[in-house]
């Protein structure tokens, strides 16, 4: 390759790596909700899976190592919804603040 642009972090086929970690976990309700938001908003044409992948790739390798799968996906969904103009950053900021005022746990922070 002679263009000087380097291989991107997510493009990992063929690289050296250790044993495959075999642990599995069941998904929490908040993870399933992230999954549902992805499918439903995609179905309504608010973004494409390619747009989500682009956002995930741009988050970089550190995000891949530090955060769980659905943590990164909700960030990518949010990024794409902001870009699509579904809501503004200001609206998101106010809403997140309101959510965290409701309680200390995921259960308490629901609006119901």
């Amino acid at each position: 390759m002679n263009t000087g642009i380097e291989r991107r972090w997510h493009d990992m086929g063929g690289l050296d790596s250790g044993p495959v970690p075999m642990e599995e976990h069941d998904f929490a309700i908040w993870e399933k909700r992230v999954d549902a938001l992805m499918i439903l908003c995609g179905g309504k044409g608010l973004f494409t899976v390619d747009g989500l992948r682009r956002a995930l790739e741009d988050m970089g390798e550190e995000a891949f190592e530090k955060h769980t799968y659905y943590e990164r996906w909700i960030a990518a969904i949010n990024q794409n919804l902001i870009e699509a103009g579904v809501y503004s950053i200001e609206e998101l900021g106010e809403k997140m603040e309101a959510v965290s005022r409701r309680g200390d746990t995921y259960g308490e922070a629901q609006n119901d």
């Binding site: 390759m1 000087g4 063929g14 973004f47 494409t48 390619d50 747009g51 992948r53 682009r54």
Partner: protein
């Protein structure tokens, strides 16, 4: 008739679905999959042109040379037309 193709060896920045380990490598077209919107445009919220997508088969010998576990094992990947050139 097997048609030989090479994955283009370019390296643009941005969202691309042609894996690095296949670039510059030669394989044969296993099948033509049809036309799909170009992910390199979809990723940026653009109207996407439809591009022909192929399944290309490579030998492990071609991909990894002496490192290959078994020279005749194969790797299939889906590659868009604009990432392929004729041998």
């Amino acid at each position: 008739m097997t048609e030989q193709v090479r994955v283009r060896s370019m390296a643009p920045p941005g969202h691309v679905r042609a894996p690095w380990y296949l670039r510059g490598k030669t394989g044969v077209i296993e099948r033509r999959l049809g036309e799909y919107p170009n992910p390199e445009q979809l990723a940026y919220g653009l109207q996407a042109e439809r591009k022909t997508l192929y399944r290309v088969r490579f030998t492990m010998r071609e991909l990894w040379g002496e490192r290959a576990e078994n020279q005749d094992d194969t790797l299939d990947a889906e590659i868009y037309h604009h990432w392929l050139e004729r041998k």
